[in-house]
Amino acid sequence: MADLETFRIETRAWLAANCPPEMRQSIAKDGDVVWGGRHADLTPPQRAWLDAMGAKGWTVPEWPKEYGGGGLSKDEAKVLVQEMRAIRARSPLASFGIWMLGPALLKYGNEEQKKEHLPKIARGEIRWCQGYSEPGAGSDLASLRTSAVVDGDDYIVNGQKVWTSYADKADWIFCLVRTDMAAPKHLGISFLLFDMASPGVSTSPIKLISGYSPFCQTFFDDVRVPRANLMGTAGKGWDIAKYLLTHEREMIGDLDDGRRSLSQIAVKALGEAGVAPLRSDIVRHEINALAFGLTMERVKDETKAGQGTGALSSMLKYYGTELNKQRQELLMSVGGSDSLAWSGTGEVDTSRHWLRSRANSIEGGTSEVQLNIIAKRVLQLPGA
């Protein structure tokens, strides 16, 4: 414990010296989130903060040092989070490489792949996107058709992905492809990594009901990918896909982190015109939100104590996203006609966030798919 206290003191001093004042203000707009990558357009404070944290490996505190991580223990990483929160420091880097690919690379990647990709993820040099869903493969993801055919030292990739988050801004893609057309659907899938700048890759943004275009269609037309870029074993990509999905689900389920609670907003809004049924709706939501937050905490504590319960990522994804949808709905009600604003002066985000949140229970496996997984893996119901 004395060591941990020393670490806390050192961390506090380092953060005080290295976190620019601009990076201690809460995130107000999309441009405040740093995604990194070759084409990242960062303000000087964003750049300084990312470089400082990247050099310490603290963008990925628990990854091994040899791969660009901080090499911290779970307890040390917790101290780092606490100390960052204490000065309201922003996260230096948002990254699918950190949240999704990294853990899969650490588990399934070979040494060359880890050495090549992990440090660049840690430093925010390469921005990744995820090539999973296809027009004909949504909830039934394993029916994907994008093909990768061996040609000498390369694969030739052909097909189409959809709902590829930020494909138009990404540098590399981790992509599910079918390498064996004859095998049963779960067994012919492989996990490929390739450069989005490769000839034959093109993207087209999809405009959503929120008015924003975070997702793309992504097309592959005879794209050459070195066979060395295959992660894991050919035909075993589904195992990696599932492992990675558990991380994605935890990420999507963990939406409430660092946000103002609905109660705090309600204090302001209802102080003037309390409406009993709305107050009651808010408090019922808050009861579930608090109990959910405590469940996230308990799951983390149990995992740390080696008492994991299994298939919990589906529970957290399902419940967390449904809660966030409910929260956005209540924020619309609390805001009244103000929350309808779409453009012009003043707050226009409430309506767009409400619409965006509708996707939470679809992306990363629908709520129904999560319930299927719980029924099958946890409850072991017949035929599930």
Binding site: A266, A291, D301, A305, L371, A384
Partner: protein, 383 residues
């Protein structure tokens, strides 16, 4: 403090699970309910079981070791209550070992503690909390009067819903020595001998086969030494006693919800209709999977409240209300689904699942329902 059980707490859980499953299973509830040709057992629980619970350290779960208890704390008390919930075991644990022990530990004088706490741990004296006066829980609404009389007080008033009041040796009575009818200030707690002249106890058996008495106090003379805590300052002790009861009731409801859920999922795997197990139907699978998530949330909220009580945190009221509200809703959902998914057989008295629904209903009502605790939470959070 981490939301995981310590090794000692895991041992308490395992011994409580084994004990109640063996000594006081649901069949025992049925036997006591049906005793005396259907009139029900006179005591309402088995005194032999209570003696064994004292031997196991359950009766003294909150009594400090210095007073002959086990001093395990609230997380452990909650684990015992959860096992009680799973087995629907009848016992005076809540009234005596949780409510009265909390009142005496928090507010008792050294003399009161030395006299009563060992008797709680040994199981030889039973207590009941006489606080609520109206049908809906409203602990600061106290019209029972305590007027100075001689070297003590004279109590007059009526208490509704006194759990285990019909068997209690000693009542803990909330009466008003000052203040207006709904004010926290001016409430005083008294230790009242249930056999004292002027105490009338009318037993009422409830839907869950437990007992709550109506207690009428007519010119009941109480000695000054029997004031629990400072005169006029009883509300703070009472609030903590109730929060301890709420957190432990949440734990019991977690046990009720969990067991009802387990039995229902087992049934989905056995029952066949249309030539297949009904558990193959997605309409039922999704409801069962949702219920699984809800039980996990109730578990987290309950554990957090018990941890807060052990650490004597400022946020005990918030976490106790959260646990009571959430566990109550989950117990309702689980037992409603339990009866529905069992179909016709779930409606029969011969089958046990209905007992879980009945207990869930009574436990939800006890010491504040969702409306009470939702309102309290909203006020604690500032709106």
């Amino acid at each position: 403090m981490a939301l995981v059980l310590t090794d000692d707490q895991t041992m308490v859980r395992d011994s409580a699970d084994g004990f109640f499953a063996a000594e006081a299973p649901v069949a025992e509830l049925r036997r006591l309910r049906d005793a005396n040709g259907g009139a029900g057992d006179a005591t309402g629980f088995d005194r032999g079981l209570w003696a064994k619970m004292a031997e196991m350290g359950f009766a003294g779960v909150l009594v400090p070791e210095a007073h002959g208890g086990a001093g395990f704390g609230y997380v452990a008390a909650g684990l015992v209550q959860e096992a009680i919930g799973r087995n629907l075991s009848l016992s005076p644990l809540l009234s005596t070992a949780i409510l009265a022990a909390t009142a005496l530990v928090r507010g008792g004088s050294p003399e009161q503690q030395a006299r009563y706490l060992p008797q709680i741990a040994s199981g030889e004296r039973l207590f009941a909390l006489a606080a609520d006066e109206a049908a809906r829980h409203d602990p600061h609404h106290v019209t029972t009067r305590a007027e100075t009389s001689g070297n003590g007080f004279k109590l007059n008033g009526t208490k509704a819903f006194v759990l285990d009041g019909h068997v209690a040796d000693t009542l803990i009575v909330a009466a008003r020595t000052g203040g207006a009818d709904d004010e926290a200030a001016g409430i005083t707690l008294f230790l009242v001998d249930a056999k004292a002249p002027g105490v009338a106890v009318a037993r009422r058996s409830m839907v869950d086969s437990r007992n709550a008495a109506r207690v009428t106090l007519t010119d009941v003379q109480v000695d000054g030494a029997d004031v629990l805590g400072a005169a006029g300052d009883g509300a703070a002790i009472l609030d903590r006693v109730l929060d301890a009861g709420r957190a432990c009731l949440a734990a019991e409801m977690l046990g009720v919800a969990g067991e009802s859920f387990t039995r229902t999922v087992d049934y989905l795997k056995q029952r066949e209709q249309f030539g297949v197990k009904i558990g193959t139907f997605q309409a039922l699978q999704h409801r069962a999977a949702h219920l699984f998530c809800e039980v996990e949330l109730a578990r987290s909220a309950t554990l957090r409240a018990l941890v807060a009580l052990d650490a004597d945190e400022d946020r005990v009221p918030m976490f106790a209300s959260l646990a009571k509200a959430k566990a109550g809703e989950v117990a309702k959902l689980s037992t409603d689904e339990g009866v529905q998914m069992h179909g016709g057989i779930g409606m029969t008295d011969d089958f046990d699942i209905g007992f879980f629904m009945k207990r869930a209903r009574a436990a939800r009502e006890t010491f504040g329902d969702l409306a009470f605790h939702g309102d309290r939470l909203a006020m604690l959070m500032g709106y």
